[in-house]
């Protein structure tokens, strides 16, 4: 296997955009190509597009050739779309990585895009209701908020986690997103703001939930040996872990302990030849505030059940035990499904390059993880990056 580097990336601003799916693709593509020297669209031999539900959100299938056409790419090695719901973008990076690592591809683009704002948002909510097994779980209107509400309720019941602790996750991530020009919600909030926001599905309030978001992003992957042709500051993809257990809610390993995440963490660190203490930055999948709390636990930064305490002690701020979501997370930046993992990767690249604002800069960071969960948290995907 060849070692693989990411040599550049570009994205759109995220949020409720006055832009079509096709506009988002072009905007991110332009920014991506302009971020890398000596690579033009015609050099790209492989294109993988992470897109979760374009059939539902924009009534369009077969989307990767469309992205290729808009970006002027003519793939001649690998062209494919990846769908792994909220981790669709990470799936795209993983496929592009495998293409380059195997020697099949020399310049691969992993791209992600989602247009989620629709004229009638009930339709968007409907789209999010066929993620869980539609005939057995989706049928009970279990889209993401009710599912994570149930998870949060159980975590509170078993471990004494509080709504105030969950709110503090959102406060931290908005603190960092206030310094991120790409973020959907670039402003500071307080614990009271979270607690007083509209109840979506108790115990979750609106600000416990990441946004519905339009956005796109892409990164360019090349063999590490070629990386310096394109940039002085490449980032290396040095490890990965991914695991899945069960799918219907009856068959999950546990509601309150994410066993597949623990498996993915172990595998990611092993393949990167690292220990947890080597990780300086963690971009974790905070689709809901409870998710980040459970991720502290599953990664092993704190004991099982002590995730609430961990944020309360500000251990996940820059300067704490580990800097979690200095990008602003999904809570602060939004969650354009297919683009999310790509946005995480680009921010790590900018962290390593020292291109982020001082207030959210993790000085001297050498290694980082990005994590995405998907479905009823039965699937967990992790990538490890190094400077």
């Amino acid at each position: 296997m060849r070692k693989v580097a990411i040599v550049g990336g570009g994205a759109t601003r995220c949020g409720k955009r006055e832009a079509s799916w096709r506009d988002l693709v072009q905007e991110a593509g332009k920014n991506m190509f302009e971020s890398v020297h000596n690579i033009s669209p015609k050099d790209v031999d492989s294109l993988i597009v992470g897109a979760a539900e374009p059939e539902r959100f924009v009534f369009q299938a077969h989307v990767t050739p469309m992205v290729a056409e808009y970006l002027g790419i003519m793939p001649r090695k690998v062209i494919a779309r990846t769908e792994l719901m909220c981790a669709s973008g990470q799936a795209a990076i993983r496929y592009a990585w495998a293409c380059v690592a195997s020697g099949l591809s020399d310049v691969a683009v992993a791209f992600g895009v989602e247009k989620m704002y629709m004229p009638d948002m009930t339709e968007a909510h409907t789209n999010m209701s066929c993620v869980l097994d539609r005939e057995w779980d989706g049928i009970n209107a279990l889209s993401a908020p009710p599912f994570f509400a149930i998870t949060a309720q159980r975590h509170m019941h078993e471990f004494g986690t509080t709504e105030g602790q969950m709110a503090q996750v959102c406060v931290k991530n908005h603190h960092y997103s206030s310094m991120n020009p790409l973020a959907q919600f670039p402003k500071e909030i307080t614990v009271q703001d979270v607690l007083k926001s509209l109840v979506v599905a108790p115990p979750l309030k609106l600000l416990d939930c990441s946004g519905i978001t339009d956005g796109a992003a892409g990164v360019v992957l090349v063999p590490a040996e070629d990386a310096k042709k394109y940039t002085d500051t490449p980032m290396y993809l040095i490890g990965s872990g991914q695991a899945s257990i069960g799918n219907t809610l009856n068959n999950l390993a546990s509601l309150t302990e994410w066993v597949p995440l623990k498996m993915a963490v172990k595998e990611a660190l092993k393949t990167a030849d690292m220990t947890l203490s080597d990780i300086d930055i963690a971009e974790l999948h905070d689709c809901f505030t409870i998710s980040e709390i459970m991720e502290y636990e599953a990664f092993g930064w704190c004991e099982k059940g002590k995730g609430g305490k961990f944020i309360e002690e500000k251990q996940s701020y820059i300067g704490g035990k580990v800097a979690v979501n200095p990008r602003g997370g999904l809570l602060g930046c939004g969650h354009p499904l297919g683009a999310t993992a790509i946005l995480q990767a680009i921010d790590i690249l900018q962290q390593f390059r020292g291109e982020v604002p001082q207030g959210r800069y993790v000085e001297g960071a050498e290694a980082a993880v990005t994590h995405n969960l998907s479905g009823p948290a039965n699937v967990h995907s992790i990538l490890v990056y190094s400077r």
Partner: protein, 156 residues
């Protein structure tokens, strides 16, 4: 220069609920090989498949056992009383077809060693507690299809 014509075109104002937006599964023997599940529901019985070879109780119902690949099953009655394991109430963001029901409770219900997701009827969020006993109920759509829910036992 030719004159450019402006014309109005018509589309139907309403359409029949399309299958791709219908949460309820097709359930007769022409559309699924687990139609027995729905036939049993129509008799008031919540059942699932148990593998005859390895004895594993499987939810959701199957035609092939993922444990031993056997395709021989028996239908097992799960009973009518469940225990509430966790729950919430959908207040915002319900999908098409369920919007008219808001607010409504959903939960995970322990029954016969399984953990089934279900609507929890006859209850608002504040009336429910983890561990509550719940009663099986069957709901029927206007076209005759059925599905199961659980309901809070009034007075508890």
């Amino acid at each position: 220069m030719g004159k450019v014509e402006f014309d109005k075109i018509k589309r139907p104002e309403t359409i029949k609920l399309p299958f791709m937006l219908d949460f309820y599964p097709l359930e007769d023997s022409k559309t699924t090989q687990t139609s027995q599940f729905f036939q049993n529901l129509k008799k008031g019985q919540l059942t699932t498949t148990k593998c005859k070879k390895c004895a594993q109780l499987l939810w959701p119902p199957r035609i092939v056992c993922p444990n031993c690949l056997s395709n021989e099953f028996e239908w097992v009655d799960l009973g009518t009383e469940g225990e509430l394991y966790a729950f919430t109430e959908v207040r915002i963001g319900a999908p098409l077809g369920f919007v008219q029901d808001v607010p409504f409770c959903v939960g995970l219900v322990k029954i016969s060693g399984l953990l089934l997701s279900s609507r929890v009827d006859n209850a608002r969020y504040d009336q429910l507690r983890i561990g509550d006993k719940l009663q099986l109920k069957i709901v029927q759509l206007e076209d005759g299809r059925v599905f199961f829910r659980f309901a809070r036992i009034s007075g508890e």
